[in-house]
């Protein structure tokens, strides 16, 4: 069904109220087409991460419906969430292993994914010996092994320094360009949001609603100097203004 209308992920009047009565999300509707990269910004605690947990099925919505093909879902968490006792290679193989792929196939898939994120040569390292940026790369590679059609990112690079983050953003964008998945990205950072996306959604404080929706007119591939263009700054100002209202 998702193939038919090109919509890879669909939130249809989704609401989420926790058992303790806390309303996290209030009537969220938006669609995510293949080839779209949508970023959600909003105040802390507004339910941004809840969106992803609903999309992945970790949480069940209490109102409305979430439609997505969960067999090919990539999900990159805030932390790299690697198994510390496994090497890089074995970490990247994990998902294929859990899905019952045979040894040779998953080794090949993992090697390709590791090469794709530029970690060739580090296959036998344990996470302990990697930097934060490299760990996120491993996490990225792990998700890539499932060849996702929808890719969820939950503030994946928030803990990294700016240079590393910019660099990883570029890598995610090149993967986006070659793999053609639909991306749903959560961040606090307005400029990261604009740089990455075809579309930026702004959420209100809890209970979260979508209060603004910006189309980002820049084509891909995007280069670093885009961040210093006047149009980029103008959009930044508008998103920033919307975000300020979100806090009120």
């Amino acid at each position: 069904m998702s193939e038919a209308n090109g919509t890879a992920l669909d939130f249809d009047r989704v609401g989420m109220t926790y058992p303790d009565g806390t309303e996290s999300l209030h009537v969220i509707s938006f669609g995510l087409d293949t080839g779209e990269f949508v970023t959600v910004v909003g105040p802390s605690g507004c339910g941004k991460s809840t969106l992803l947990r609903l999309a992945s099925g970790l949480l069940k919505e209490t109102a409305g419906a979430v439609r997505v093909d969960r067999d090919r879902l990539g999900y990159v968490f805030q932390d790299a969430t690697l198994l510390p006792w496994r090497t890089v290679q074995k970490n990247v193989e994990l998902l294929a292993e859990l899905h019952g792929q045979d040894r040779d196939a998953r080794r090949r898939t993992a090697e390709e994914a590791i090469e794709l994120v530029g970690l060739t040569g580090f296959e036998r390292h344990h996470p302990k010996r990697l930097s934060g940026g490299m760990r996120m790369r491993v996490s990225l590679a792990r998700s890539l092994t499932l060849d996702p059609s929808v890719f969820l990112f939950d503030e994946p690079f928030g803990a990294l320094d700016e240079i590393t983050r910019n660099r990883l953003n570029d890598e995610v964008l090149s993967l986006f360009a070659t793999r053609g998945f639909a991306g749903l990205f959560i961040t606090h950072n307005i400029f990261e949001a604009i740089y990455m996306s075809t579309r930026v959604l702004v959420m209100s404080a809890r209970p979260g609603r979508i209060i603004a929706d910006f189309d980002i007119p820049f084509g891909y591939p995007r280069a670093d100097d885009l961040r210093f263009q006047p149009e980029f700054a103008q959009i930044g100002a508008r998103v920033s203004e919307a975000l300020r209202q979100a806090y009120e």
């Binding site: 992945s56 099925g57 970790l58 879902l73 999900y75 968490f77 805030q78 932390d79 969430t81 198994l83 510390p84 006792w85 496994r86 994990l94 998902l95 292993e97 859990l98 899905h99 898939t109 390709e112 994914a113 090469e115 794709l116 994120v117 530029g118 970690l119 040569g121 580090f122 390292h125 344990h126 996470p127 302990k128 010996r129 990697l130 930097s131 940026g133 490299m134 060849d147 590393t164 660099r167 890598e171 090149s174 993967l175 360009a177 070659t178 793999r179 053609g180 591939p221």
Partner: protein, 308 residues
């Protein structure tokens, strides 16, 4: 979908961040000689403490005790009972074949006791902890009894154990198991339950099998804590063996029986030697499990540094 590496990615060198791996490799390739040297330096501080301890011992038994006991008669006899010279301990207990034979066969019995007992504790402890980690109701039902085992004074159980199992090897074994079981259960259970929530989410997304989650996530995650439990219990198992000797003295004589015997017969040199042997046994099993833990987890666990 293409899985070929992208040109844009190949064009730039991607790894520019972390010098750490290089450092780590460098450390690993250090020469054997310098490793031995580092090892010696590590040992030198405890060696100094040992020498100091021996000095104080000699000083006490040579200068202090005779002064205190000055008016007693004969003072030399009393002194040798209260604190014999270390070299007398070596002469009487280690260089005399009969005495050494007694001590070694006692040591052998307690080694077997603590090894078997610890083996049983590890088996029961792991099974219990795994069962508790799988269902809240199992944990709620059995945990109080684990605590009971930990808190019941072993002395209070002696008559019961004697009634059921007699006063031989199996009674002593039970004492070892009772004393060493609890730390294995609690530490393993803690390890099994302390896996990162993000990792649990990852497994929830990709598998429904609890067995897979246990085997690939919870068990490996619990290894450092589990081995800490083994280590604590290893030390306790030796204590259990010696304590068991005291209460269940029939048959073969363990170090505990010998300690009792030497104390009653005023044979301080052998007494000190028996204490030395039991401590050495405890220390050996303790260090063995410490070594094993480092071996198995230091390369990935944050707290595990080689040589610690």
């Amino acid at each position: 979908m293409s899985t070929e590496p992208i040109e844009a990615l190949e064009a730039v060198p991607l790894i520019t961040e972390d010098p750490d791996p290089v450092v780590a490799v460098h450390v690993e390739s250090r020469s054997t000689a310098s490793k031995v040297f580092a090892r010696l330096r590590l040992l030198s501080a405890p060696a100094v403490v040992f020498a100091g301890f021996m000095g104080i011992w000699y000083l006490l038994s040579w200068r202090y005790l005779p002064t205190v006991l000055g008016r007693a008669s004969p003072p030399e006899f009393l002194r040798s009972i209260i604190l014999p010279y270390p070299h007398d301990v070596v002469n009487v207990a280690f260089l005399d074949a009969t005495n050494l034979g007694d001590l070694l066969s006692g040591l052998w019995l307690d080694t077997r006791l603590s090894t078997f007992g610890l083996g049983i504790s590890i088996t029961i402890g792991l099974i219990t902890a795994i069962a508790m980690s799988q269902a809240r109701w199992i944990e709620r039902s059995f945990y109080p009894y684990a605590v009971f085992l930990q808190t019941v004074p072993i002395l209070a159980l002696v008559p019961l154990i004697g009634l059921f199992l007699g006063f031989g090897f199996s009674a002593r074994l039970i004492v070892v198991v009772i004393i060493s079981l609890f730390p294995i259960i609690t530490n393993t259970l803690f390890g099994l339950k302390s896996a990162d929530q993000g990792l649990h989410d990852l497994f929830t997304l990709h598998t429904k099998s609890r067995w897979v989650r246990l085997r690939k996530l919870q068990l490996p995650n619990s290894m450092p804590a589990m081995f800490t439990g083994f280590q604590i219990s290893a030390g306790l198992s030796v204590i259990g063996a010696i304590v068991g000797d005291f209460f269940f003295g029939r048959g073969e004589k363990g170090l505990g029986n010998l300690i009792d015997l030497y104390a009653n017969r005023l044979r301080p040199e052998e007494l000190w030697a028996a204490v030395f042997f039991s401590t050495a046994l405890g220390l050996t099993v303790f260090m063995m499990f410490g070594w094993l833990r480092t071996r198995l987890t230091a390369h990935w666990h944050e707290s595990g540094e080689p040589g610690s």
